[in-house]
């Protein structure tokens, strides 16, 4: 099979996968025709067969009285789901071939066969795109818990209130999933409405993978509570998603602190004037870390214990460094490939929350839905996350096809 035909199949698969921008772009062209049905590329098929073999090996080991460790358990789950989809794919492909023969051989059955055929083509396309998505290599932090950092952008107090709303949304989302989460730090606005910054840690392994597309600038359009003339304002808040690389315990922080050279890191504590010591009794426990090679500064003052503040600050520093390294590595790989494919990782203004229209639009994948309340409570945030995930894996699947 040649390269253009492979691409055509992919266009077709994405055509059927709502939502995606590819779908919008191609929906006006053609409905699937007989020529569009093509098999997957042989190199992909051989990759699938490897999984099937591995599955076979695991099953034999289990039959011989062996037992799974964590790694083989994950592999088993992945391989068996790939095998299932692959079998469905083969069935549907065989069905299509049989129908085509029927159409060619027996003119009396042609009409029925064509109707059946037209029904099966989109099913096959869907199956093969599902299969492709399974073959995408997982994100390097896919199994990590995550940290969300929220900060208001433009829009003054209204932006601070919106940042608070987003914080509540993610907390509600974690709650609806029954994930453990805690507020690592939160600085409230002077007047007590809205936040200046907040860090929410979600301790569920794998939550990074779910929430990674939340990173970016979120925009809100609504009539603020502070507005007296009924005008709609536009404000923004920024979300940063980081992987949790270790926990916030003091022991982990001490070990991590020792991994730096003394001149790489500076730890500042609050300094007061006066004699200090027994003369005064201060409760200042704020800690500020400066990491010189990267220029990252982390301030933490949430806890009464300086020791705990330091541990939290080191956990944040570690997460930020890991994320930064990942982005740099990706950038390097991209320039090495001279890759022209757009990525979703750094796009600005990812989403708009329009209250007057009760609408939320994700600008990256063009997905819109109409349930502000459900999303802001976190309960229907999944719809947006799934839409973005589908869009992203379509992009990645296209990349796989281009690379084979």
């Amino acid at each position: 099979m040649n390269f253009t035909k492979t691409l055509r199949l992919m266009r077709n698969t994405t055509l059927l996968r709502q939502p995606s921008f590819v779908a919008r772009r191609w929906s006006t062209t053609t409905s699937p025709t007989i020529d569009d049905v093509e098999e997957l590329h042989p190199s992909l098929i051989s990759r699938i067969k490897q999984y099937v073999e591995q599955l076979h090996g695991l099953e034999q080991m289990l039959a011989a009285g062996g037992s799974f460790n964590a790694a083989s358990q994950i592999l088993y789950a992945k391989a068996s789901s790939i095998k299932d989809i692959y079998e469905r794919y083969q069935d549907q492909l065989e069905g299509l071939k049989a129908l085509r023969e029927m159409m060619d051989d027996d003119p009396s059955l042609k009409e029925d066969a064509e109707a059946e055929y037209a029904k099966l083509v989109p099913q096959l396309a869907k199956t093969s795109s599902e299969l492709l998505r399974k073959l995408i290599p997982p994100h390097e932090f896919a199994d990590k818990p995550c940290i969300l950092e929220l900060r208001p952008g433009v829009g003054g107090i209204e932006a601070m209130i919106f940042a608070q709303d987003l914080l509540n949304m993610y907390a509600g989302y974690a709650q609806s999933k029954r994930w453990k989460y805690h507020l690592t730090s939160k600085t409230e606005n002077q007047s007590g409405s809205g936040i200046v910054d907040a860090i929410l840690s979600i301790d569920e392994p794998g939550s990074y993978d779910v929430l990674k597309h939340e990173a970016g600038v979120h925009r809100v359009q609504r009539i603020p509570a502070t507005e007296t003339k009924g005008r709609t304002h536009t404000s923004t808040a920024a979300v940063v998603v980081l992987p949790q690389m270790g926990n916030e315990s003091e022991k982990a922080a001490d070990a991590y602190e020792r991994s730096f050279k003394p001149d790489e890191i500076r730890i500042d504590v609050m300094r007061a004037s006066g004699k200090g010591g027994q003369h005064v009794n201060t409760t200042d426990s704020a800690v500020r870390l400066t990491h010189f090679p990267s220029g990252i500064v982390v301030s933490m003052q949430d806890e009464r214990s300086q020791h705990k503040n330091k541990a939290k600050a080191f956990a944040i520093l570690r997460a930020r460094l890991a994320e930064r390294e990942r982005l740099e590595r990706e950038e390097k790989e991209r320039s090495a490939r001279k890759d022209q494919v757009t990525t979703t990782d750094r796009s600005d203004k990812i989403r708009t929350y329009n209250f007057p229209q009760n609408r939320i639009t994700d600008h990256r994948c063009g997905f819109s839905m109409h349930d502000i309340e459900g999303v802001m409570s976190g309960e229907r945030l999944d719809d947006l996350i799934n839409a973005m995930e589908a869009y992203d894996s379509d992009l990645k699947a296209r990349k796989i096809l281009q690379e084979v």
Binding site: G192, H279, T283, Q306
Partner: protein
């Protein structure tokens, strides 16, 4: 210290009346907000706590505890509240002994108060033999409570007035002490209101009695010592009274740049030379 205007208090209190109570004692709106957050977190009666704070009662007495390294030290009236400066040098000292070859040193903590330094060292060095000494019955009762609260065992607690008691001193590898060090004439001038009103004078006011006691009594029974100081003159006092041939003496500053500790060790001890290398700067 700049005066806090009634207008400022009114403004802060308009956000939350409790902040208005906390502002005069916390000095800045930001600090007041942080403190209110802590008070709410501890789950104490918030109204009562803020009312007490408005009368300058130390937060640690109101909430009943103060973090100290990884420990939570219980605090009660009549016993000095641990300071962050003490936490800083005690943590550094504990880390140094932890990495040294002496795994089971004998440690004496004089003027132990809440027992914070003794407990921190015992937690870092589980095989150390730690003795905590104080003359105040309130302190002794609180040390026992703190041992239990932090689940630490095997610390000897003695009630003894080391300035007047003539029982023999205990032989030790390390003597630590946070003695009262504020001279009588400086007490009214230099000490903040909250400390003056609510913390025990017994743990604050003394001139050089404890440094004299160190030189005359404890030096003969130990290999090294670490004493907190309030003024550099106290460090020089110790350095001048010590035999320069057998002792090395140094001063350590806190991260606020103030001289905070005078320490010393036997010059001929190779292990201790290494252990205290870089802890402060040697003056003798």
């Amino acid at each position: 210290m700049p005066r806090i205007s009634p207008a400022m208090i009114r403004k802060v209190a308009s956000y939350d009346p409790l902040l208005g109570l906390l502002l005069p004692v916390c000095r800045t709106a930001e600090a007041a907000r942080q403190e209110l957050h802590w008070i709410r977190n501890e789950g104490a009666s918030v109204q009562r706590a803020c009312a007490l704070r408005a009368r300058s009662v130390p937060l640690q007495y109101v909430l009943g505890s103060q973090p100290f390294g990884e420990l939570e030290i219980l605090c009660k009236r009549n016993v000095l509240i641990p300071r962050w400066e003490t936490e800083e040098w005690a943590s550094e000292l504990a880390a140094r002994w932890q990495t040294s070859r002496v795994t089971a040193p004998t440690v004496v903590d004089l003027c132990t108060g809440t027992g914070c330094v003794a407990l921190l060292l015992k937690r870092a060095l589980p095989r150390a033999q730690v003795t905590a000494i104080d003359c105040s019955p309130f302190a002794i009762a609180l040390v026992t409570k703190n041992l239990h609260h932090n689940d630490i065992r095997d610390v000897t607690v003695l009630q003894r007035d080391i300035l007047r008691d003539d029982r023999p001193a205990i032989a030790a590898d390390l003597v630590v002490c946070n003695p009262p060090y504020i001279p009588r004439d400086a007490f009214v001038r230099d000490v903040t209101t909250s400390v003056k009103m609510y913390e025990p004078r017994l743990a604050l006011v003394a001139d050089k009695e404890f440094y004299t006691n160190l030189c005359d009594v404890w030096l003969r029974h130990t290999r090294s010592f670490v004493y907190e100081i309030g003024d550099i003159s106290q460090a020089h006092f110790v350095a001048d009274r010590i035999s320069a041939t057998t002792w090395s003496v140094g001063i350590r500053r806190d991260s606020n740049g103030k001289p905070r500790v005078v320490y010393g060790f036997k010059t001929d001890d190779v292990q201790l030379n290494k252990l205290y290398d870089g802890f402060g700067y040697l003056v003798r």
